[in-house]
Subunit: 587 residues, 2 copies
Amino acid sequence: MTPPKLSLAAFKRYLPILEWSRSYDRDTLTSDLVAAVIVTIMLIPQSLAYALLAGLPAEMGLYASILPLVAYAIFGTSRALAVGPVAVVSLMTAAAIGNLGLTDPAQYALAAVTLAFISGAILTVMGVFHLGFLANFLSHPVIAGFITASGVLIASSQLKHLLGVEAHGHTLFTIWGDLFAHQHLVNPITLTIGVLTTAFLFWVRKGLKPLLLATGMKPRLADILAKAGPVAAVVVTTLAVWIFDLENKGVAIVGAVPMGLPPLTAPSFSWDLWSQLFISAVLISIIGFVESVSVAQTLAAKKRQRILPDQELIGLGTSNIAAAVTGGYPVTGGFARSVVNFDAGAETPAAGAFTAVGILLAALLLTPLLFFLPKATLAATIIVAVLSLVDFSILTKAWGYSRVDFAAVAATIFLTLGFGVEMGVSAGVVLSIALHLFKTSRPHVAEVGLVPGTQHFRNIHRHNVETAPHLVTLRIDESLYFANARFLEDYVYNRISCDEPIKHVVLMCSAVNEIDMSALESLEAINQRLGELGISLHLSEVKGPVMDRLQRSHFLDELTGQVYLSQYDAWRVLTRPDAVDSPEAAQ
Amino acid sequence: MTPPKLSLAAFKRYLPILEWSRSYDRDTLTSDLVAAVIVTIMLIPQSLAYALLAGLPAEMGLYASILPLVAYAIFGTSRALAVGPVAVVSLMTAAAIGNLGLTDPAQYALAAVTLAFISGAILTVMGVFHLGFLANFLSHPVIAGFITASGVLIASSQLKHLLGVEAHGHTLFTIWGDLFAHQHLVNPITLTIGVLTTAFLFWVRKGLKPLLLATGMKPRLADILAKAGPVAAVVVTTLAVWIFDLENKGVAIVGAVPMGLPPLTAPSFSWDLWSQLFISAVLISIIGFVESVSVAQTLAAKKRQRILPDQELIGLGTSNIAAAVTGGYPVTGGFARSVVNFDAGAETPAAGAFTAVGILLAALLLTPLLFFLPKATLAATIIVAVLSLVDFSILTKAWGYSRVDFAAVAATIFLTLGFGVEMGVSAGVVLSIALHLFKTSRPHVAEVGLVPGTQHFRNIHRHNVETAPHLVTLRIDESLYFANARFLEDYVYNRISCDEPIKHVVLMCSAVNEIDMSALESLEAINQRLGELGISLHLSEVKGPVMDRLQRSHFLDELTGQVYLSQYDAWRVLTRPDAVDSPEAAQ
C-alpha cells in the first residue's frame, strides 16, 4: 500500500514498453503484423456487436478498439493480450447505464464515456497502490459461475435482434418475459437472417477449417479464412439487405455510422452521475481485471513469461481512460481474441498497436458500407461468441469437491440470471467471504493422542493412538479470532464437563496462525475457569509470530500451566506419574 | 440453522420459566422482592432520562420498563439480567429516527414503536434459527471502542440540557458545534441545577456509602440509600423548580406525563418506514444482544450458571415486541442495573417481573409529581451513568497487542464520534472482517528444518535446524482459500527460482485447515509448473478433513510426489541418497 518512489527504476516499472522495444527486430515485426491482421478481421464485427450489446451506437465499439489498444501496448505487461470491448463488460455497461433511466442517446453515450473514465481511474489507482490482490477476493468458482450466467444473459438479450422484436430488462425473467409478450410481432425475414447467420457461424467455427484443410489449403490460410467467417456473414447479409431492400420489410439495420477519426470526448464530472456510476465502475473494473489477468497469465505461462498484476492494472486503467477520451466505453482484455492473437504469433504488445491501426482504417474508410448491416447478424456473432463461455460443469465440479463452494457458485449463477450482473457479482463476492467466515467461525477441533513409536500426534477418532485419562489434548484447526473465540470457550467447557479425572488440558496450536485480542480474552477466561476447577491449561507448538504476540500480553504470566515447544515434550512431562495428581508438579 | 422441532422438549427450551419456577420458594421470593425494590428505585429516573435521550416523551421510558421485563422473565435464561431502556440503544434509537426527518411527535413515537417491533422480530427469528453466533462477528475490541465512543457522544448530547440551549446532531462535531453556536443563550439557573446535580451524583456514587457506613449504618441500608441518590436529586430539584417557579425563569421541565396503564400500541406496517428503519433495527438488535449477553454471561459465571445465547435472543426479542405493543421503544439488558440486581440478591427472572410491578405503580401514581422535574436533572443522571462506560485504555491495550486490532478500535471510535453510532458500528464490523481477510490473504509461510535429535520441524530462521540442499520444506501457516491461493503460487515460484539444486518441494500442511476450490486450482498449477522444471511436489501432515476432500478431486492422481503422514517421514525418505538425483526414487 506504499505509494511509489520517483526514480528511474520506478519510471521503467510503469513503462514496460521500454523493456521489450529494445530487442524489437524485423522478425518480431513480421509476427506482430500477421497477428494484427487476423485480430483486426475478427475485431471489426465484434466491436460493432458489443457496442450494440452495451446499448451504444456501433461506432463506439470501433472507437473503443483504437486508442485503448495503443495505451495497453505502452503500459501493459502481457505480450499477447488483446484489449477492447468484451461481452461481459459490455453487458455490465448496459446494466450500469440502464439503471440511470436515460432516454437521450447523447446522455447515454456520455454516461458510457464517464463509466470508462471512472473505471480507468479506479484501475490505475489500484495499480499504483499495489491493490491488485483485492481481485483475489473473487473466488475462482464464483468467477466461473458469473461468466457462465453472464453468457446465458447475453445470448438471451440478443434474441430480440434475431426475432426482430423489442425486449428490455437485464434479468433472464424480464428478457424472456418481453420476448414472449412480443412473440406475435416476430419479423420472419429478420428471423431467417438471424438463424441462418447463427448456423453459419457455428459451422465456420467447427467445420470450415477441416474442410479447407481437406482441399489441400495451407493451415495458416485456412485459419485466417475460418476467423474471417463473421466478416463473410457481415458482407453477405449486408448485401442481401441492400439488394432486396429488406430494410423496408422490417429488418432492423445498423444505419448511418459516422466516418472518420474517433472524436475527442470528455467524461462528465457531475457529482450525481459519478455517485450513481461508481459502484458499477468498481464491479466492472474488478471483473474486467480478473478476466483479463487470468487470460494474460495463462498465455504468459505457455511461453515462460511473467506478467505483473499491478502493472496490468495500470495497463487496463490507461486503456479505459484512453477509451473515455476518444468516444469509447469500458474495455478489457478479451479471452477469445487474445488466444487468437497468441496463436497467430503475436510476440509483443506492438501487435495490439498494429491492430489499432487496422481498426482506425476501418473507421476511416469502411463505415459507409455498414449502413445496411442487419442487427440480426451482429446478434448472431455475439450469441456464437458467448455460448462458448457458458459451462455449467462448474456446478457439478464444485458439488463434488465442496458444498460451500457449490453454494457460492449456485447462488452467483442464480442471482446473476434472476437479478442481473451487478447483483450476481456482488453477491458472489459477499457470499464467498461470508461462507469462508462461517466455516472458520466453527473450527474443527480434534482430540489427539500419540502415534505409538513416533513423536507424532493424530486424531484419536481416526488413528490408533495412546492417550492418558488425566490429560486432554485438543488440536485447534483454525486461527483463533473474534468469530470463533466464543466457540472455543464453549468447546473446552463442554469437553471438561464430561470426564472427572482431568488434570491437564493442552491446546495444541500447530494450526493456530493468529490469536487476536478477542481470542486472547477467551483464552484468559478459559485459563481462569479451568484454574478454579483445579485443571491446568497448557499450550504446545505455538508458532513464533503467535508467541511473540502472547509475550506482549499478561496471559503467559497468568497461565496455570506451561508452553511446550512440541506436543511430544508436553506429553512426556504431563504423563510422568507425579503429574497425575498434582498439577504443580508439572510446572 | 435448522428450524426447531415441535415437541415438549422444544416447548420447554423456549420457556425457561418452566424450569426455574418449579423450585421457587419463600426464600427466593424474598431475595427477588428486595432486589426488585432497589432496581425500581434506580430504574424510574433512568427510564425517564433515557427516553429523553432517545428524543421521546418521558412516559415511553416507563412503558418500556414494564411489559418487556415480564416478557424477559418468561423467555430469558439469565437469572440476574435487568431489561429496559439503556443508554447506547437509546442513542441508536435517536439516530435511527432522527434520520427520518420527522417533525410530528406522534409520527416520531410511532417510528420508535415500530423500531422496537422490527428489532424484536429480528432477535426472535435469530433465536429460533440459532443465529446467535452472528454476534461473534463483532470483535471484543470493536465493541469496547464503540461503547466508549457512544458514552462520549451521549454525555455530549446531554450537555444541552445542562446548559439550557438547543443543540442537535448525532456526531461529536455537530453537537459541539451547536453548543458553541448557542453559548450566549446559556440559562444560568439551568446550568446551576445541572452542575450541582452532576456533582451530587458523582459524590453519591463514590462518597456516600463510606460516609453512611462510618455513621454505623448497616451495609445493606447504606447500599440502598446510595442507589437512591438519583431519586433524591429528582425530588429535590423538582421541589426547587416548583417552589421558586423556575419554569418561568427558563428552566426546561418534563411537563405533563400521562398517568395510567401503558397504552396498547401497534407498530406501523408501512413498507417505506420498514425499509428506512430495517438496517438501524439490525444494528440495534446486534448491539443490544452483544451488550446484554456479555453482561448475562459475566453474572452467570459468578454463580456457575449457564445462559443459552440463542434463547437469550428470544428473551430479548419478545421483550422488544412487548415494548412495541405497550408504547415503549427498543430495550435490552443493561449493565449497571443488572449488576445492581445481582448484588441486591436477585435469584430468578421473577425479580424482573416484580420490578415491572414497581414501575407500573410509578406510572399509575407518580407521574403528576414529575411535572416540574427539570430536564437538567435527567441529563445529569445520564452523564454520570455513561461516563463509567468511557474507557479509552482499550486503545493502549490494543496498540500493545496488535496493530490490526488497534486499527479496528481506533477507526470505530473515530467513526462513531465523527459520523454517528450507525456508521461507527457498521464500520467496526466491516473493518474487523476486512482486516482479518487481509491478514489471511498474505499468510505467514515458514521454511522449516529438523530440530536435531527430535522428529520436530521449526522455522530455519528462528531455530538451529538441519536442512538439505535439494529439499525445500515450506510450512504454510494459514488455510488455503481464494484470498491467498495466488499468493502461495507466487511464493513457491519465487522460492524455487533462487536455488538451482532443488529436487523436492514439501508443503507442510499442519496449519492448513481448509483447501477450497480456488486453492486446489493453484496447487494443481504449482504441481504442473514444478513438474515441468523436474521438481517433485510433496505434501505432509495433511489433516483428515482436508485429505478427505483432496481425495474427491483428481489432484492426488496428478501429484508428482507423495503425501506423507508426518513431516519426519517425508524428511527420512527425501534425504536418502537416492532421492537427491532422481525424484522418481522417492516415490
